[in-house]
Structures are given as C-alpha cells and as structure tokens.
Symmetry: C2
Subunit: 348 residues, 2 copies
DNA sequence: GTGAAAGCGCTAACAA
DNA sequence: TTGTTAGCGCTTTCAC
C-alpha cells in the first residue's frame, strides 16, 4: 500500500460493492438509492474514512488554507492579530498557516512568491518596510494578498493600516490635559514608517497644545524593555513631567527605571505607552496606552481576504483595492492620573 | 484556463519544446543535455513558474506541513511554544499550521481525526485534559502525534511534559529560604492535572520545610489577573507572608491587589508566580517565577515529531514512544527578596 | 441511479 | 538523454 494503509474511495467502493463515483456522490450528499447510500455510509464508517484534503485541493484548485506572515510571533501586537485572524478563518472553515519572517525583507518576498505554490488560497502580510521589490511582488502576486501596514497608492492590493499619527497625538493631548507640560518621547527607530508616524503625531500634538518642541525630550532607540530603561536615564536631566513611549515594552522599561530611583508615577512623572498589550495592564501602576487596534486590524484583514476569495467566481473584473484604517483608542489607566501638585511649577 | 493562468510544467514544456518529463527532471536537478537544461530554465523563469505544492503532495504523500493545536494563542505559555516550534519547523523546511482549540475537548478530538485528511504530516497537541476518547483517538491517529502534557502509560505516542510538581516545590522552598513561614497558595482549578500537580508540589515542599499545612492559606480559582486580585482579598485575613501563585497572571493580579492596599512587596509579603512569561518581568517589582520550560517543551516536541517523520521510511517497526520532561527553573527577581524585618515575628 | 473515464499538476518507471 | 505513460485521491461530466 503506497498510501500508508489509509482508506480511500477505492477501498470504500470495493467494500460497498459500488463504483467510486457513487462513493463520491454519497459522501458529498448527492442523490442515490437508499440502499446505496446506506452501504457506502457504513463502509466509510467501518473503515474510518477521512477524505484526502490534498487530492480534493488538487481537483478544485483551493486549499482552504490562509497564510499569515508577520515579523515575530513573540510580539504581543502580532499575537493579537493572529488571534483575531484565527477566529475569523476558523469560523469560515479555513486553516491558518503561520509564517514568522523574523523581520527579514527577503523572507517576506519569499512568502509572497510562494503564494504561487498554491499551498494557501491567500495571504495576510505584515511587512516591516515596503520596498520597491515588495511592490513588484505584491503587484504580480499569484493570489489575493492583504497587507497590514501602509501601502503607497496604486498598489493593487487591499490593506489595513493603523493610524499611529492620530494615536500618538491622542496620547500627547491626554498628557497635556492632565496637566503635563514637559512631555518627553521615547520613540523607536526613526527610519521606519511607524517611527516617523509616531514622531509626526507627537510634534503635531505639541504644536496643537501650544507646547515648544524640545529636542532634549526626545530619544530614539529600539523597542524592548531594556531600551526603555536606558532612555529614561538619558531623559531625566531634561526634567520631563511625562513620558510618552512608542510601545508598551518601552513604557514598562521606563516605568521600572523611574520606580527604581524613587520617582513616583504618576505624581512626579506620568507614563503612557502604546499598543495596549497585556503588558500595559500588567504594569504598576497600570499603564495608560493607545490601542492601535491590532485585533481589529487582524480581523479586518482576514475579512477582506475572505471577501476576495468569495468574489473570485463572481464578476470578471475584480473590485478595486480597499484600504481600511483602524481608529486608535486611548485606554486611560493609573499611570497618567493628573499630578496632585500644581503643574504650573513644572512649566519650563 | 481552469488553473487561474498559473504556469505548469505543461506550459513550460510547450514553451521549451520538450516533454513534461524533461521539465520535471531539469527542475529537480536531474541530468539533462546542457541545451535542454537551459531552455527549460529560461522558459520557467520567463513564465514565473512556481511548482504546485499540492500536486507534489498528492504524489509523494506528504505535505511538509505540521499542525500545532493548543487551547489559546492569547496565553503567553502557548505563544512561547509556538515560537519555539516555528523556529524548528522552519529550519527543517516545514510549514506550521496553527489551530486554536479554545480549550474545547471536542475540538482537540476533531484535530486528531483530521490528521486523516493528510493536510499535515504530523501533529503537536496540547490538550487541556486527557479523556478516554483522547486516548482512543491518539492510539488510532492517522499520523505521528506528539503530546505536550502528561499521558498515561501505554499510549503509543511521544510526549513532552512539564514538571510542575517539582516547579511548585522549588518556589515554595525558595520562599522558605528567604525567611517566609506563612506561604499562601493561589492555585488554578483543582480538577485539572496541572492544578493537582501544583498542589502536590506545594504540600510536599511545606512538609519538607517542616511547615504546617493551613487550609486557610490555599485558594482555588481560575487563571486570570482579576482572579488573582480577588484571591488576595480572601487570603489576607490569614496573614500570609508570602504568596505563591499558579501562574504569572494570578501573581500579577495578586501583586496589584497588595500594592493597592499599601502592602509592600517583598517587605511585607513576597510574591512568586509561575511560567516566567513576559508578564513576570513586566511586574513591579519584577516577579520571581518558575519557568516550566514552555519554550523547551515546544522545541522538544517539534524535534520529536520531525524525528518520527524521518524515521518513517526506515526500519519497519517504529521506535517505542518517548517521554521527555522539561526541568523547571526558578527565576528569582525582586518580588521575593528576603524580608528585612525578622521573619520570626510572623511565624504562626 | 450508476459506472466508466477524464483530468487537476506532478514524479518516476519504463521504453526508445 | 528523452518521451510516453501510469498513478497519487478525488470530483465531475457523460453515457447508459
């Protein structure tokens, strides 16, 4: 047995004394004589038959599998996305293939190309950066793709983006409203799209609040809890009364560094993070954070993709690419409660 | 074109003016005349050919896909496993199919049965509980399975387990060594294997330390940060000087509840958690935690599974099932630093 | 209502 | 070295 002993429609047909066509029909709920149905059903049950999904896929050209490719499954943001995507795909009867690109662009391109191997019916891609090669690969992709991230105009692909400009601005405005006037910013790398957007939101909000922009209050670093702590050491001489951090891990590291030197949160310095991951809630005091809608983006991306898959058999022309933006949401927690002592004494 | 316009070996053969067999050979690195090789290569490149993995799978009976099924991808423990598994499978050239069972036993059984559809070559299953049906399904599984969890003897399946008995005992012994004498225990549900094992470890360690076992110091609850906080309220009247929690989320919730009522950690009450997830590090003070080796277990499970897959073509008889136990590791952080005031005054 | 047969895309045995 | 062909397991005409 070249098959490993697994029953196939052939074994069932033999056992039931019918043709394989009848087996197929019965098993797919098509009409057949009562007697035939019964014999096939029984034979299948006795043999413990499970249809071979690979053969079926080859036949009808779809696998009922979807791929999600993201930089790192260790990051809470992507975990939230996986979770949301998983929920949608499962409900729709699709399996989910997970691919960690390790934030390597070539890996992302490889995933894009591998769409051609028909292993999955579609792809949700979360690229770290969009290069010309990405655009080329997206344009010529062998199947439907949804990008989670910001795409230049004209790329014929659905996308779901976060509004980190608005999100950053929300956080800064909130800190201002709670009486903070020297709002420092711990940002991620400045050469990434998210880094630039957060920076833009920060500056915009400062201006809107009528606050000066002080370079001494801004630090660029990489993400990660230790980086947050290190950044604090560099910022303290500038006497900030609030810390806005580009993600929760930075915020957490910053908070720890502050507490370790006896700085009170939020009485002396308020701290706000971004992503509203489990870490924000876990912090002490619990951290105010801006939810950029990872979950929403994941869900939406999955819905868009499924929608493309449905639409396939329909009208000849594919609908134009759609772009959704997930609105940010400020989650206020104890780490940014208004300072009890007069903020006026702190003003620069 | 029933195919969606994708090039196949037929299109390449036509373009290169050779037979499909030649195309296959060239593309699979078999010998051919220089001229033939070149023409096939070029045709394939021009057409942007990508081999159809489904067709290939049907041919050789393997998909190079592995499935990982666990209760909930939102849980840090499973995230750690996914990450480790992903790393191993990726290196071995396998794709990873993720399946969230939502902690529903029927879903676990369904996954087990669906191994028969040949969608993946093997399965790593992380069951919440092992029922007789599980054992039945595991015994008759259509492909290799590795279970992460404790399996009764005689089930012909590889497994990787955590040693939560030893892990719990380590935590308790550590608390004892740092001067604690009234060590409370916030455990998960008592009707689960992990719950029972942690309880056993707790009791064993108490006895080993010569401490009495006080029912008033033990609370059973479900996992989750809120449950931890609620448990603290129930425990405080019993005047504990240490809290051992069955996972990090409970510990975090407990810590928050303590801090909120002005109890100092670790001066007044020490807190230790379990799993050593990112949350433990995120807590304030950073939480001592017992690493039960989620990462190690994931990696090991993947290795065992791959090993089975390799072994397949080998000797007729399959090697006997193997069981690995991941050793627990105590990660000491600030939340259990020795109390500064004499522990003697606290003794019951 | 049922069976024979073609074909999805690929690999490999066999012939030439 | 190359081409023809069978076959992986299934669905689906097309005859009967």
């Amino acid at each position: 047995m070249p098959n490993g002993g697994q029953p196939t429609i052939v074994s069932i047909a033999a056992r039931a004394g019918v043709s394989i066509a009848s087996v197929s029909r019965v098993l797919n709920g098509q009409g057949a004589r009562r007697d035939t149905v019964e014999r096939v059903r029984r034979a299948a049950a006795e043999l413990g038959y499970v249809p071979n999904a690979v053969a079926r896929s080859l036949k009808d050209g779809r696998t009922r599998q979807l791929t999600f490719a993201m930089p790192d499954i260790g990051n809470p943001v992507y975990v939230a996305m996986v979770r949301a995507i998983q929920a949608v795909t499962k409900a729709a009867g699709y399996r989910l293939l997970l691919h960690s690109t390790d934030a390597v662009a070539e890996d992302e391109l490889a995933v894009l190309h591998s769409l051609g191997d028909r292993t999955s019916d579609g792809l949700i891609l979360c690229p770290i950066r969009i290069t010309d090669e990405h655009i080329e690969a997206l344009t010529t992709a062998a199947g439907p793709v949804v990008v989670i991230g910001s795409l230049p105009d004209g790329v014929p692909v659905d996308s779901v983006r976060a509004d980190s400009v608005a999100g950053s601005a929300m956080a800064v405005a909130h800190l201002f409203r709670t009486g903070r006037r020297r709002i420092a910013f711990i940002n991620g790398p400045s050469d990434t799209v998210p880094g630039r957007n957060r920076d833009l939101g920060y500056r915009t909000a400062l201006t809107a609040c009528g606050l000066p922009h002080d370079e001494a209050l801004v630090v660029h670093t990489d993400f990660g809890i230790d980086s947050g702590a290190a950044a604090v050491r560099r910022l303290l001489p500038a006497r900030p009364d609030a810390l806005f951090c580009a993600n929760d891990q930075l915020a957490l590291g910053a908070a720890h560094a502050l507490l370790a030197r006896g700085v009170r949160i939020p009485e002396d310095i308020a701290v706000a993070g971004m992503d509203d991951s489990a870490l924000a809630q876990a912090g002490w005091p619990p951290l105010t954070s801006v939810d950029l809608g990872s979950s929403t983006r994941g869900r939406r991306a999955a819905e868009l993709l499924l929608d493309r898959l449905e639409a396939r058999g329909g009208t000849g022309t594919a609908p134009p690419p759609r772009t959704t933006t997930a609105p940010p949401r400020l989650v206020v927690r104890a780490s940014t409660a208004p300072a009890t002592d007069s903020p006026v004494t702190r003003t620069a």
